[in-house]
């Protein structure tokens, strides 16, 4: 079980309002994307959920418990892989569970195999390609004991081909090991392809502009990306993002 809710969360730095009255929730085993333009305060949102800062107002709860300002209650995958260069891959993916909870080498080895990283268990990060490093980083967050995973634009630094491959890979692995996921991205297509629900943030100060329920069936195929339906959804979200007032026709 993992249900995350943010209620009326606001945060400003140096008198500049970054997040304004954010309300959002992630249901159990739900995949929710937060979509917003660059610099819209998505990272601030994650830092608040991760407990690095206190919000100026509002409350964050996980399964009913207040986690505002508490660290270690979510599992996190950053934009860069952030693997420790002196640890082998298997030691790296156990790091999250080492920090909170008990590391399980057996489970780590199995998960690496499923993630298509067998043969690299004892390699060092610098021996891996960009996509493989991101896989290892995701495996690390899956092996962390927390029920909610926050992913911060994990594929934005990858090239187009690798990104698509990684998205499919992520969906495969996630459908087998269901967790609640909060996924931050600035790529509309990526948000639509991966999630059950897309939350669109406005530009600074960020507020929740609109929420879309994504109707595509799972498992999702690559052909979905080129379908008419996808294109019309993309157009609609794009217009909401561009207009920035949230008055677009609702379909959610």
């Amino acid at each position: 079980m993992a249900e995350l809710t943010l209620q009326n969360v606001s945060k400003s730095f140096d008198n500049q309002l970054i997040l304004n009255d954010i309300n959002l929730s992630v249901g159990n085993e739900e995949f929710v994307s937060v979509l917003g333009p660059s610099g819209s305060g998505k990272s601030t949102l994650f830092n608040l959920i991760g407990g690095l800062y206190q919000p100026d107002q509002g409350e964050i709860t996980l399964d009913g418990d207040t986690i505002t300002g508490t660290r270690g209650s979510i599992s996190y995958m950053p934009q860069s892989p952030s693997l420790f260069p002196w640890r082998t891959i298997v030691d790296n993916v156990m790091l999250g569970s080492e920090i909170v909870g008990e590391p399980d080498r057996e489970a780590a080895m199995n998960m690496l195999k499923k993630a298509g990283l067998s043969g690299y268990e004892n390699a060092y990060p610098h021996q891996l390609s960009g996509g493989m490093k991101q896989r290892a980083a995701f495996v690390r967050s899956l092996l962390s004991p927390q029920p909610l995973i926050c992913l911060d634009e994990p594929f934005s630094a990858l090239d187009e081909f690798t990104r698509l491959e990684m998205q499919k890979w992520l969906l495969d692995l996630w459908s087998e090991h269901k967790r609640s996921v909060l996924f931050v991205t600035h790529n509309i297509e990526e948000a639509l392809f991966l999630s059950d629900r897309v939350i669109v943030l406005s530009e600074r100060p960020a507020t929740v502009q609109k929420e879309f329920e994504v109707p595509f069936d799972r498992p999702r195929e690559e052909t979905l990306l080129l379908s008419e339906e996808m294109l019309s959804w993309k157009r609609e979200i794009y217009q909401v993002l561009k207009r920035g007032d949230g008055s677009g026709a609702s379909r959610g």
């Binding site: 209650s73 599992s75 996190y76 952030s82 420790f84 002196w86 080492e98 920090i99 021996q127 926050c150």
Partner: protein, 256 residues
């Protein structure tokens, strides 16, 4: 091994040429031995005089190793304390720099007056020259931890202690080893200087005895012994470094 030969032949050639130049110059100009001995004369004394200086050599090695171990421990502890407690860094950092501005040559006789001719004043001198490079480089290593990795560990909920042992300490190890390598060579010098000022045995004693009796060949033997000792010490630290920070070099070839 092949790589060592490939990379090493140029400097070796230069050193051999230098020796040849020195040897032929002392023969050509018939320089007296008490002024500058030729390399062969130094070599002969080095072989023949082994029984004269070997106990000096052991004594210096013992002093150097003990001093180095104490000095590096002090350096590492100082670095950790100053890193973990920022107020300490603020308070003591200038003091640590001042400690390096004290002329050792003035301090050493004072230490002998205070603590006598035993091991203690010598160990203090070696510690004083040794700890500084280690403390500074370790502190830098600890402070320059990647912000990305630090952000991840914070988000993952690591405590201060976990952050230190899992992230900052392993990150600082390569810097720590640079400090150790510098200190390893300093510690030999420190030992010899401290021996000059009052000791029963040691390379420093052997050197002062030799120079006051115009045995210049022995002075040169002492110089070469000190160089050899520093070099061995340096190589030993490098060897340990290769084992400890193996991740730095491992698999570089496979990556292209």
């Amino acid at each position: 091994m092949k790589q060592v030969v490939l990379r090493g032949w140029r400097p070796t050639l230069v050193i051999i040429l230098l020796f040849i130049l020195w040897e032929s110059a002392s023969r050509l100009f018939e320089i007296p031995e008490w002024l500058i001995p030729s390399p062969t004369q130094v070599w002969e004394e080095g072989i023949a005089g082994w029984s004269v200086y070997n106990h000096h050599l052991y004594s210096t090695i013992l002093l150097t190793v003990t001093g180095f171990l104490i000095g590096s421990s002090v350096g590492i502890i100082v670095a950790i304390l100053l890193h973990v407690i920022p107020i300490f860094r603020n308070m003591f950092y200038p003091l640590i720099i001042f400690s390096q501005n004290i002329p050792i040559i003035v301090l050493a006789p004072l230490l002998v007056i205070w603590f006598g001719f035993g091991m203690l004043p010598k160990l203090i001198i070696i510690t004083l020259v040794c700890f500084f490079p280690i403390a500074v480089s370790t502190m830098d290593g600890l402070r320059q931890t990647s912000t990305e990795l630090l952000h991840y560990t914070k988000m993952a909920g690591a405590t201060k202690r976990q952050t230190f042992w899992k992230l900052e300490w392993p990150h600082a190890l390569p810097s720590l080893f640079s400090g150790l390598k510098i200190s390893a060579t300093y510690s030999v010098m420190g030992a010899v200087i401290s021996e000059w000022l009052g000791a029963k045995e040691g390379i420093g004693v052997y050197m002062t005895l030799a120079s006051s009796s115009f045995r210049t060949d022995r002075v040169f033997v002492a110089i070469f012994l000190i160089m050899l000792l520093s070099l061995l010490f340096f190589a030993l630290i490098t060897l340990i470094e290769k084992r400890v920070v193996a991740w730095k070099t491992k698999g570089v070839e496979t990556n292209g």
